[in-house]
Symmetry: C2
Subunit: 740 residues, 2 copies
Amino acid sequence: MASASSTFSLSKPFVPLSKPHHHHHASNHNSIHLSFFNPTSLSTLKPSLSASPRRRVDFRTTVRAAAVEVASEKTETALVDKSVNTIRFLAIDAVEKANSGHPGLPMGCAPMGHILYDEVMRYNPKNPYWFNRDRFVLSAGHGCMLQYALLHLAGYDSVQDEDLKSFRQWGSKTPGHPENFETTGVEVTTGPLGQGIANAVGLALAEKHLAARYNKPDLEIVDHYTYVILGDGCQMEGISNEACSIAAHWGLGKLIAFYDDNHISIDGDTDIAFTESVDTRFEGLGWHVIWVKNGNTGYDDIRAAIKEAKAVKDRPTLIKVTTTIGYGSPNKANSYSVHGSALGAKEVDATRKNLGWPYEPFHVPEDVKKHWSRHVPDGAALEAEWNAKFVEYEKKYKEEAAELKSIVTGELPAGWDKALPTYTPESSADATRNLSQQCLNALAKVLPGLLGGSADLASSNMTLLKMFGDFQKDTPEERNVRFGVREHGMGAICNGIALHSPGLIPYCATFFVFTDYMRAAIRISALCEAGVIYVMTHDSIGLGEDGPTHQPIEHLASFRAMPNILMLRPADGNETAGAYKVAVLNRKRPSILALSRQKLPQLPGTSIEGVEKGGYIISDNSSGNKPDVILIGTGSELEIAAKAGDELRKEGKTVRVVSFVSWELFDEQSDAYKESVLPSAVSARVSIEAGSTFGWGKIVGDKGKAIGIDRFGASAPAGKIYKEFGITVEAVIEAARAVC
Amino acid sequence: MASASSTFSLSKPFVPLSKPHHHHHASNHNSIHLSFFNPTSLSTLKPSLSASPRRRVDFRTTVRAAAVEVASEKTETALVDKSVNTIRFLAIDAVEKANSGHPGLPMGCAPMGHILYDEVMRYNPKNPYWFNRDRFVLSAGHGCMLQYALLHLAGYDSVQDEDLKSFRQWGSKTPGHPENFETTGVEVTTGPLGQGIANAVGLALAEKHLAARYNKPDLEIVDHYTYVILGDGCQMEGISNEACSIAAHWGLGKLIAFYDDNHISIDGDTDIAFTESVDTRFEGLGWHVIWVKNGNTGYDDIRAAIKEAKAVKDRPTLIKVTTTIGYGSPNKANSYSVHGSALGAKEVDATRKNLGWPYEPFHVPEDVKKHWSRHVPDGAALEAEWNAKFVEYEKKYKEEAAELKSIVTGELPAGWDKALPTYTPESSADATRNLSQQCLNALAKVLPGLLGGSADLASSNMTLLKMFGDFQKDTPEERNVRFGVREHGMGAICNGIALHSPGLIPYCATFFVFTDYMRAAIRISALCEAGVIYVMTHDSIGLGEDGPTHQPIEHLASFRAMPNILMLRPADGNETAGAYKVAVLNRKRPSILALSRQKLPQLPGTSIEGVEKGGYIISDNSSGNKPDVILIGTGSELEIAAKAGDELRKEGKTVRVVSFVSWELFDEQSDAYKESVLPSAVSARVSIEAGSTFGWGKIVGDKGKAIGIDRFGASAPAGKIYKEFGITVEAVIEAARAVC
């Protein structure tokens, strides 16, 4: 039944060139089960809509008339109570054992958590990467025991009994905040507040985009919801307002956010700092808003709210769920003391009594276990049903199926990198931001998962894909994303897009200096292994008149110091193409491309292959690996180094000119290669870069000299600033003479 | 009439220890005229309320009945038109001459600009630092030609005719975005969007706080408004939502924000990314909202809106002013092309024709000049009036007057630093975050301008001033500020507080890793010379279980690379006290204190004086400045270096242990001092710091070894992570043996 082309199965996603950075944990990347097609399960299960295992949701929200239904409902409610309390006590017990963590949120949010994972969401516990699963994001990441408890009950392999008992311990799968790279079933990495809701916007964008591109009238192949729980802290963060504003603009109707309205944050009652009307603000943003007044026990209200949210298809829904933080704790509920500390043995006992919970720590009652046990077969059936649909899709829509498969698996189309442009020294001078646009437009033709845009600087960042229109509410199939002036939200949305499917390659853009606005999101890209491409133009004083508020100085150094991210500063067309090759290949490591506003010549000696090594020789008139001096430049200053080299050679010196486009990539090369570029015997080294010299000491060594800018910039034409700041050929020549 | 104590006059503010960083411009700091009391002007002017030069505002908004008034009004309106067009063309001409800049906003906002500076605001052009002036912030900083034109017309010395003609040129007083450190009359540094509105919240907070502390029923000595113009870009940024949410919570009734609602941003019509209802959102935030539908010519509507805004005293007001970007340009108005580029000679001509402007570039018509000329004497009178009031205040309220004077001038009370606690090795071990709280509480008693708080982590950051209550809407005299989970807004609000008065010393706090959320504001602290104290706790993997999302790695390096900011990482009580001494003295350079969550011992050899030098020897058993090895540590790892030193000495080695608490301060010491701490002849150096090794290469040299963490952290108890990551005494000993 399955065609040959659809039986492929990947034991892990296609992820080359990634630098591992989580040394202490056994990596789970090797065990990722990404296949979306499993022929064996297909033969044993008969997928059909009528057998859909999530029909209970609808059942619960229909009008109930018969007495027998009421009786069964009562039994059900008792079981739901029990399940909800199981979640509460798994959280209480894990935090207690670790003597560290946040019990308050899980205790308050257990009802919505139960309803989501047990009644509403469609997922396959044994393949957490099943493409068409509903996504869940705990934006209030400190409450992660809620999610761990739910994953455990639902049958995910990642959270076993022993994992719950090693919460927040070295090497466990249950770290202090949700981390997708540690725990399968966790979609994104949260904890820093507000990131999760923005990630969720990215997940919902990805769904809407892929659905628009690949769904057919007869075959809805992309179709899932994105659920998120966020708290008061998330609501106060500016990033959440940014993301929620643009989510409504895009009409992300399948994004449903639960706002855990518990009125408590770390410093106490939210009345001390947060008295706005969140409801009114969200109405202003364009969301549909529902208020569930009793989130502690009002199961049916929560169910009805979800039903209503699903019925509103043209915009996202915020369900404000008023809960009691630490619900059930007789002495600590509704206080900040239950937010981020273990309850303590005495209060745990009191809570057990109060909620009528006679069990040992970490106990899951048999009937609760049994109740949840259906999710493993049901999930397998859901995936099988979808797989069958995909087989049909592939038969009818061969081209689209191939594209979608590439997006689902992350396998890049063969020969994709041949699309990248190359240049000769005769090619016309151009700004690397313009050369970047040539690369983006070339790649968009061969990479179906490439999409992105700018934070309202598309015409300055040069990020428009010319063959596509704008991703908008009514044109979601397009691939130019207009983020508005929302850098922080943009970065976190792109993290969500990247983590939706391995083959989605989001890029986003602003001026390099404004990475300061989005640094928290960029750091999470690096941590959560989201291969976002950051297209950062206007990368130095070379932008000129806009002045010091717009001129990056310390930014290159600040990202070179950040783990698991590639900081690339290409010098010309070939290096820009090389930077894109590297960025696309690194699907589990984000890349930042620092690009010039000003025109730069196409330099002899630059190459894509050179960029892949991070640092390489672009010209040399020495022999025996013993130049008189090594000149090192990056980006727009490589030209200055090359010119200085020419001058010094006229004086009879042997000079090597090195492009140092990515420190991280160079660092990963063999010692022999490194020695061939920067021989330890040659201490006469001069570097030049229009940025902070911080960090260059290690490259140029004790006897070398680093030319850079260790002050803020200035407002004037670029050439004038370069001259006044001493970023000149003359300065390099002088320094070279001094160190030789 | 003036008492002896009130005749002091400062030619410049009291600003010790500041590292100058704007080398290229003649510093204007030496010419700051900060005195708020000028006995000579007092003798020639009779201040009285009936002579208030701003009564015209009230006149304009009263009902007009008599024909003669209508006639004069027509004349007046013609003159206002002329003044408004003068502003427009000064902007057009300056941008045209520079062939760079943003003419669109000034052309659209000229009417509100005119009304503010000509009719509403109270200021003294010849003393831009007069304490009780109304503050104006152009949050949409790219439109700076609007402000330069207004300062020019109003008679500020900082913007002369030649300054307008050297817009955006090297060494001019009219840089590409408003910079308070370049142009007197500019209150804060804007350009990066959203910062200005948050600065304005800080300015308004300062006014409300000082008014509550110092105003008396008979003498209102603090009394000014804060006006701000923000655009669509500012509105999209998350920081503005953060700041505006808390501004309403605090009830900042004297904050009046004009939202330049022109529907155009760089990428085109705001419809492509910004379709929320700003009005509704601000109502949700708790603001009073007014809509002026015709901002282009509706002068009376603007005036009426300001009057209404002033009447609403319990909350801030947003005046949405619908304007046409580039108003007057027949072919470019209402398009993105007029946002950020010169109009071009042809369109400038067309605009001159369209608006009936026959004048040469940069011409200010005589009647306009004459009309504005009253602001110099009127401003002097306003200040004189206030000075007279202050003389009276000083007589009646001696103590309060002395405090207020200290806040106004920035002169620190004599001997203030004696309040700082000191410790001996016998003092009990403690976390530097707790020691920080001891310092803050000691300083609050002697520094009347110290106020601040945390972004919802007060009980973790240990930032509460125990003798004060919370600064809140109804208790604005208190000094504990509750920022909520709004790090970015917090930083920018503190910039506003710091720039309100030289003696206000704002501090703010969160976890060190969350500097990522507020980095754009911190960078502007550094650039705009705002001496904010950043109290950043949980400064390493030492925070333990919260895991990698919460553990800083690259943050120390990232701030060491930033110009004009002090990155301090104290190791114990004495060093924490030293860090505070440095931070308080540096009123024009912000300081970041990285503080531990975990307990640290009080080390022998640490001192306040040592911290002031940035790096210093805490123990040494060598002689002749030739130790076998130098061990260098910071913060919580200084203890590890000290212990390793003890062990190595047992082996017979001569070991120097150096605390490297602030790289920047060490860098500023004499070469002789540096050589006495890190002799160039000693290449055997080992550094240890629980953060990125990036940058340490320069300190330890080619033959040294830097121990640190070049990967993300982990969720586990702190001791376990230290051990697994090799941040141990054993690792230092091993490295020392290897390099000796």
